[in-house]
Amino acid sequence: MTKLLLAEFTRPEAMLAAARNVDQSGCRLADAFTPFPIEEMAELLDAASTSLRVYMFIGGLIFAVGAYATESLSAVYLYPFDSGGRPLYSWATFVMFPFAIGIFGAALIGFIVTMVKTGLPRLHHPLFSFEPLERATQDRFILALEPPHATSLEARARAWLIEAGAIDVTEAET
C-alpha cells in the first residue's frame, strides 16, 4: 500500500509548472494522469525514452523474414514449379508479401509490447476507486505525488499544491 496525493489541475500548464517544482513540496512525483499526452510530463517522470520502437523493428523483421523464408522455401525446395518459365527464386516478386506482413508484424508486436509495458489491460486498478481520477480522462490534469511521511510535511505539501494552482488535493492509495 502506497499512499498518494492526487492534485487536480484544470490547465496543463499549471500542472506542468507544479510538476517541475515538485521538490519544493517535499513530495516525490509518482505519476500524472492527463486527458491527452503531455510530452514534458514524461520527461519529468523519467519515462521519456522507451525501447518500443526497437521491439517493433525486430518484430517486423521477424515477420518479414519469416514470410520471405516461407516463400523461398516453398517455391524453391518444397514444391518447385515452372511457372511461366520464371526463375524459381525471384526476389523481386517475393518482396511484396514480406513487406506487408512485416509492417503488420511490427504493429502487432508494438501493440503487444505496449500492453506489456503499460500493464494493460488493467480493468481493476486500485486508483479507479478514487473519484478525481474519473476526470483525468476528460478534462482534469492530475499529479500523483508520494507525500512525505510526516503528517505535518504532508499538510505543507498540500498547501503548496493548492498554491501552485491545484483546485483540489485528495488522498489515494495504491
Binding site: D82, S83, G84, G85
Partner: protein, 935 residues
C-alpha cells in the same frame, strides 16, 4: 468437390449394360460394380476402336469409333475409307450427341398414344394383307437417298412381291441439277468426281467442294495436295471461285468473284465461248469478263490440269456446259456410275408422291429415315398431303414434323446401334456395325422392311450378311472379319468410266430477274436440318460468319445500304403467297442483288435443342429452281434481333496483320517473305531446361479450310460443354479451340486460323495464378489443374490470345443446354478427361490424356514415344492435315521441320511468350493479271 458424373459413374452405367439412371447424388460411399461375366477381349478402362460408316445424305463416310466398356464416346475418321481418309467431318463426330440424345424417339406411338411393336406388327400385317390383295397398287415407300445394298435389295424384293407399289426417294440436299446436267451432256446420269490433287487451276462456279457434304473430306484432302509450299517443294494450284454467297470454297480461293446466279451462267457461257463453243453470248459485266479472260488464260497455260466445277444451284444446262468445258480442257475428272439406284429426280419423286396422295393413289405410306414434312419446298405442302394417307407409318430417329403427320411413329435405331451397310459417293461399300445395343426399343430400317415383307423377327445382322455373301462366296467369314476390321470392302468402289463423249448443250437465253434472288444452301452446321437437335452442331460457329444457334439472311453491304438495313434488322421476305421473317446479316463477299439463306432452321418439331431457332427457308423454296428463288420481295419490319456470334471483330488493321500474315506464292518462291515478325527477343528471364519431350504444334494457315472439324473434335474428345444461346449472347463460350476468320476489303476473306492454347514457354497466364492451377510441366505443356483452380480468371485476363475458357456456370453438369438434364448424355463423356465443375478455368491441353496414355505405354515398354504416336483430336479430324503435333526435341520430327520453314511465325511473338503452338503463314496464289489491273 464434385466433378460428377465422373468416369466411375460412367463405368457403373455401362458395366450394368444399361444407361438407365443410377442415383447421381448417392451416399458418400462409392460402389464398385463389376461385370457378372466379363465380355471377351475387354479390359475395363481401356478403350477399343471399331470401324463403321456413317451416312450423310445417304452416302457413307468411314469412321473409327472409340468405345469404353461398350459405350461409344468418340468418332474419328477411318483412314482406309475413300470418303474420310482418316479425317472426320463435324456431322459424323456429332453423331455421338445424337445417339445419346434424350429427345430421340423411344417407343412406338399410334396416333400419338403409346403403343408397341407388337401392336404395330398386327396392324401392319392386316394392312399388308390388303395391299397384297391389290398387288400393292396403293402402297408407297418414301425414303431418303438409299445406298445400303441390303436396303436396296430389301426394297426391290418388296417391289417384286407388290408390283404396283411405288418407291419414292427424296433427299433435301439433292443433286437433281447435276444428274440432269450429266444426262444432258452424256446421255446418261454420271457422277463426276474431280481429281483436285491433279488440278493446277480449279474454277468453282457456285460449287462448294470444300464445304460441308458427304465427300468434303476427300475433296479437302485432294485440294490440300495442291496447297503445299515448303522449302524445296512447291505443289500449288490456283483456285478461282465465282459464286453468289461466300462458301468455304470461295473463302479459300485465290481469286474470287461475287456474281448473282444468272450472271454465273453468263460467265460460264463466256468461258465456253472463249474455248470455242460459239454459244450466244450473255450479258456479263466488265469485271466478270476480265475475270473470265484471266481464267481462260490460266487454263490455257495449264493444259490438262484445269478443272471446272459447277454447284447444285446452277441449272442442268450449266452443268452440261461444264462437262463440255472439262472435256475440252481434258480436265482431271473421273466419271462414276451413280450409286443412287433411283433414276428420277428427287423433286419429281416427291412431287409424284404428293400427286399420288391427292389423287387417292396412296393408302399405305411408309416413310423411312427422312423428314419431308419439314425439309421440302413449302409449295408442295407435303405435310398436309401425308396427313391424308389412311395408313401411314414413320420410321425415324426423332418424333419430328413428319412423324406428327403419320398414324404410326416407329423409333429408328441410330446408325451406331445398327447393323447395316452403306456406300460412299464412289460406290465403296462399308459394313455398318453397332457400337452399342439399342438404348431404346428401336429397330433398324432393315427390320421394318423385313417386317413389311412378312418376316417378324428378322435380324439386321443376318440380312446384311446375306447381302454381302455375294461379294465373297468362298471363305465368307474371313472376309467378313476383314471387312469389319478395315471398315470397307476393298475393291468395292466403282471403277471410273472411260471419258464419255459429250454434247454441247443448247443454252436458252436467260432473263435477268428483276428483284433480288434468294439462294438456299445447306447449313454449314446443321446441314438440311436433320442435325438441328444436336447441341454440338448448333454451337459450332458457321465458318464465315461465326453465327451460332440460328441462321440469318445474308445480304451484301451495298444491298444493305440501299435498303437501310443494319445487322440484326428483321425483314420480311415474300415470294408469292409464302413469306418469312428473318434477321439480316451483312456479309462481305455476298453478291449484290442476292440474298443468302441456309436451310435447316425454323424446325417445328425437332426436340428441346432444335426448336424455335432461326427461320425455315424451305418455305420459300421453289419447286422449279429449288436452290434460288428469284424476284423475292424484301421489306423491313422494324423489329430487331441479335445475331449470335462467337467472333465479332473480323478486320485486322494493317499493323495487326502480324496475327495473320499472308505471303504470295510468288513472294515465297522468290524468298521474299515479309511477315514482319519479331521473335526471339531478348529476355531477362533465364532459359528453362526441357530435358525430355518438348511438345509443340504447328498449324498451317494455308491448309486450313475452316471446316470446323477440329473444333468439334476437341469438344468431343475433351468433354467441352455446350453453353447455349443465352450464354453465347452474354459473350461466353467454351470451345477450347476456335477457328478465327479475318476479312479484308475484298470479297475474299484473308483466311482461317485455328487457335488452340499456345502453350507459351514464358506463359503470361502462369505467374499470375495465385494457387498454381496454371503451371508448366517438365515437357513444356501449359497445364491447367482444374481441381486446384479457384477461379480468379487472372490467367485469362492476362492471356494475349484469350484461349482460356471459364465455367461461369456449371455448364457440363447443371446447365440445360449441355445435357438437357438427361442422364443418357453422361455416357458421352470421355472418361479420361475430367468433367469440369462450375467456377474453374479450362483450356486446350494438347490432348494431355493422349500424351499421358502414349507416355505410359512407352514407359512400360522402356522406349521413347515415337514420332506421330500421339495425334491430338484436332489433328486427327483435320481433312487437310493443317495441324501437326509432335516433339520439338526430335530435330527430324515434323514439327521441328515446319519450324524451319520460311513462312513460319509465332503469333504475337513480340510479346516474348515463346509459344509452342506456331503457325505457317497463309500462302496465296493470286493471278497477277487480275491484280495488276486493280492497281
Amino acid at each position: 468437390m464434385s466433378f460428377a458424373p465422373d468416369r466411375r459413374d460412367a463405368l457403373k452405367l455401362l458395366a450394368m449394360g444399361a444407361t438407365a439412371a443410377l442415383g447421381a447424388c448417392g451416399p458418400p460411399e462409392e460402389e464398385i460394380v463389376p461385370y457378372v461375366e466379363m465380355p471377351e477381349g475387354l479390359t475395363p478402362g481401356v478403350p477399343m476402336q471399331f470401324t463403321t460408316a456413317l451416312p450423310l445424305s445417304g452416302y457413307a463416310r468411314g469412321a473409327l469409333v472409340t468405345s469404353y466398356e461398350g459405350r461409344p464416346t468418340r468418332i474419328e475418321g477411318n483412314p482406309r475409307h475413300p470418303a474420310s481418309l482418316g479425317a472426320c467431318d463435324i456431322f459424323a463426330q456429332a453423331e455421338i450427341m445424337t445417339l445419346y440424345n434424350p429427345d430421340r424417339a423411344k417407343a412406338v406411338l399410334n396416333e400419338g398414344n403409346l403403343s408397341s411393336w407388337e401392336d404395330f406388327e398386327k396392324a401392319l400385317l392386316s394392312q399388308m394383307q390388303i395391299e397384297r390383295g391389290r398387288r400393292g397398287s396403293k402402297l408407297t415407300i418414301l425414303t431418303g437417298r438409299v445406298t445400303s445394298p441390303t436396303m436396296v435389295r430389301q426394297i426391290q424384293a418388296l417391289l417384286k412381291s407388290f408390283p404396283g407399289a411405288q418407291w419414292r426417294r427424296y433427299e433435301p440436299i439433292h443433286d437433281d441439277a447435276e444428274i440432269s446436267g450429266a444426262t444432258m451432256a452424256f446421255g446418261r446420269p454420271l457422277l463426276p468426281i474431280p481429281r483436285l490433287d491433279q488440278a493446277a487451276v480449279v474454277v468453282s462456279l457456285d460449287a462448294d467442294p470444300l464445304g460441308p457434304g458427304p465427300y468434303q473430306l476427300a475433296y479437302a484432302y485432294a485440294f490440300a495436295q495442291k496447297r503445299l509450299a515448303r522449302k524445296g517443294v512447291i505443289q500449288f494450284g490456283r483456285l478461282y471461285a465465282v459464286e453468289s454467297c461466300l462458301s468455304l470454297t470461295g473463302a479459300n480461293s485465290d481469286e474470287r468473284l461475287a456474281l448473282p446466279p444468272h450472271l454465273i451462267r453468263g460467265f460460264i457461257v463466256d468461258i465456253a465461248n472463249r474455248l470455242g463453243a460459239k454459244l450466244p453470248q450473255e450479258a456479263l459485266g466488265d469485271d466478270a469478263s476480265r475475270f473470265a479472260a484471266a481464267v481462260v488464260e490460266d487454263l490455257k497455260a495449264n493444259p490438262g490440269h484445269g478443272v471446272f466445277l459447277v454447284g447444285r444451284g446452277q441449272p442442268a444446262e450449266t452443268h452440261a456446259l461444264c462437262h463440255w468445258i472439262n472435256r475440252a480442257l481434258k480436265a482431271p475428272v473421273d466419271y462414276f456410275p451413280p450409286v443412287d439406284p433411283v433414276a428420277s429426280t428427287h423433286v419429281d419423286s416427291l412431287r409424284g408422291l404428293v400427286e399420288d396422295i391427292d389423287n387417292g393413289r396412296v393408302e399405305s405410306l411408309f416413310i423411312i429415315g427422312c423428314n419431308p414434312a419439314y425439309a421440302a419446298p413449302g409449295e408442295l405442302a407435303v405435310d398436309d398431303a401425308i396427313a391424308k394417307v389412311p395408313f401411314s407409318a414413320y420410321h425415324g430417329l426423332y418424333d419430328d414434323e413428319t412423324a406428327a403427320r403419320c398414324k404410326w411413329r416407329l423409333p429408328l435405331s441410330h446408325t451406331l446401334e445398327s447393323w447395316s451397310d452403306l456406300r460412299a459417293l464412289d460406290g465403296a461399300v462399308s459394313v455398318v456395325q453397332p457400337l452399342i445395343r439399342p438404348l431404346y426399343d428401336t429397330r433398324t430400317a432393315h427390320q421394318l422392311l423385313a417386317l413389311m415383307g412378312g418376316m417378324l423377327s428378322a435380324s439386321s445382322y443376318q440380312l446384311v450378311r446375306e447381302t454381302l455373301q455375294a461379294r465373297a462366296p468362298r471363305d465368307f467369314e474371313t472376309h467378313w472379319r476383314q471387312w469389319l476390321h478395315d471398315g470397307i470392302i476393298q475393291g468395292s468402289a466403282n471403277a471410273p468410266l472411260a471419258p464419255p463423249n459429250v454434247t454441247l448443250p443448247h443454252m436458252d437465253p436467260l432473263q435477268a430477274p428483276r428483284g433480288p434472288s434468294l439462294t438456299f444452301a445447306p447449313d454449314p452446321s446443321i446441314w438440311d436440318g436433320s442435325y438441328a437437335n444436336n447441341a454440338w452442331l448448333q454451337e459450332c460457329p458457321k465458318p464465315t460468319t461465326k453465327e451460332v444457334w440460328g441462321n440469318s439472311i445474308h445480304i451484301s453491304p451495298s444491298d444493305a445500304a440501299a435498303n437501310d438495313l443494319e445487322e440484326g434488322d428483321i425483314v420480311t421476305l415474300r415470294r408469292g403467297e409464302h413469306s418469312l421473317e428473318a434477321p439480316v446479316n451483312i456479309v462481305q463477299g455476298q453478291a449484290a442483288g442476292v440474298l443468302g439463306a441456309t436451310l435447316g432452321y425454323g424446325r417445328r418439331r425437332a426436340g428441346a435443342i432444335g426448336e424455335g431457332l432461326g427461320f425455315d427457308a424451305y418455305k420459300l423454296m421453289p419447286i422449279g429452281t429449288p436452290w434460288a428463288a428469284h424476284n423475292v420481295a424484301l421489306s423491313r419490319t422494324g423489329a430487331r434481333s441479335t445475331i449470335l456470334r462467337t467472333q465479332r471483330s473480323f478486320h485486322l488493321a494493317p499493323e495487326r496483320r502480324e496475327i495473320y500474315p499472308t505471303v504470295t506464292l510468288q513472294g515465297f518462291t522468290e524468298g521474299n517473305i515479309d511477315i514482319s515478325e519479331r521473335r526471339g527477343l531478348p529476355t531477362l528471364l533465364p532459359e528453362w531446361e526441357y530435358d525430355s519431350y518438348k511438345w509443340a504444334m504447328s498449324i498451317d494457315n494455308t491448309l486450313c479450310i475452316g471446316c470446323n472439324a477440329c473444333l468439334v473434335a476437341c469438344r468431343s474428345e475433351n468433354n467441352v460443354p455446350v453453353v447455349g444461346p443465352i450464354e453465347v449472347s452474354m459473350g461466353r463460350e467454351m470451345h477450347w479451340l476456335r477457328v478465327d476468320v479475318y476479312y479484308r476489303d475484298e470479297p475474299t476473306p484473308l483466311g482461317f486460323q485455328p487457335v488452340p492454347c499456345m502453350h507459351c514457354e514464358k506463359a503470361p497466364c502462369e505467374p499470375v495464378c495465385p494457387v498454381e492451377a496454371s503451371v508448366h510441366d517438365s515437357e513444356g505443356l501449359n497445364v491447367q489443374v482444374y481441381n486446384r483452380c479457384i477461379g480468379t480468371r487472372f490467367c485469362q485476363s492476362n492471356c494475349p490470345y484469350k484461349v482460356r475458357r471459364f465455367n461461369f456456370f456449371g455448364y457440363a453438369t447443371d446447365d440445360v443446354y449441355a445435357n438437357l438434364h438427361a442422364q443418357s448424355f453422361d455416357a458421352q463423356f470421355n472418361p479420361d478427361v475430367t468433367v469440369r465443375s462450375r467456377g474453374v478455368m479450362e483450356k486446350c491441353t494438347y490432348c494431355l490424356q493422349r500424351i499421358s496414355r502414349a507416355r505410359r505405354t512407352a514407359e512400360k515398354e522402356n522406349r521413347r514415344i515415337a514420332e506421330g504416336e500421339i495425334v491430338t483430336a484436332c489433328q486427327a479430324a483435320c481433312p487437310t492435315r493443317a495441324i501437326i503435333f509432335g516433339d520439338l526435341s526430335n530435330a527430324d520430327g515434323k514439327v521441328s521441320q515446319l519450324r524451319n520453314e520460311p513462312q513460319h511465325y509465332e503469333m504475337l511473338g513480340h510479346l516474348g511468350t515463346r509459344p509452342r503452338t506456331t503457325y505457317l503463314a497463309a500462302i496465296e496464289n493470286p493471278n497477277p493479271a487480275l491484280r495488276e489491273k486493280e492497281e
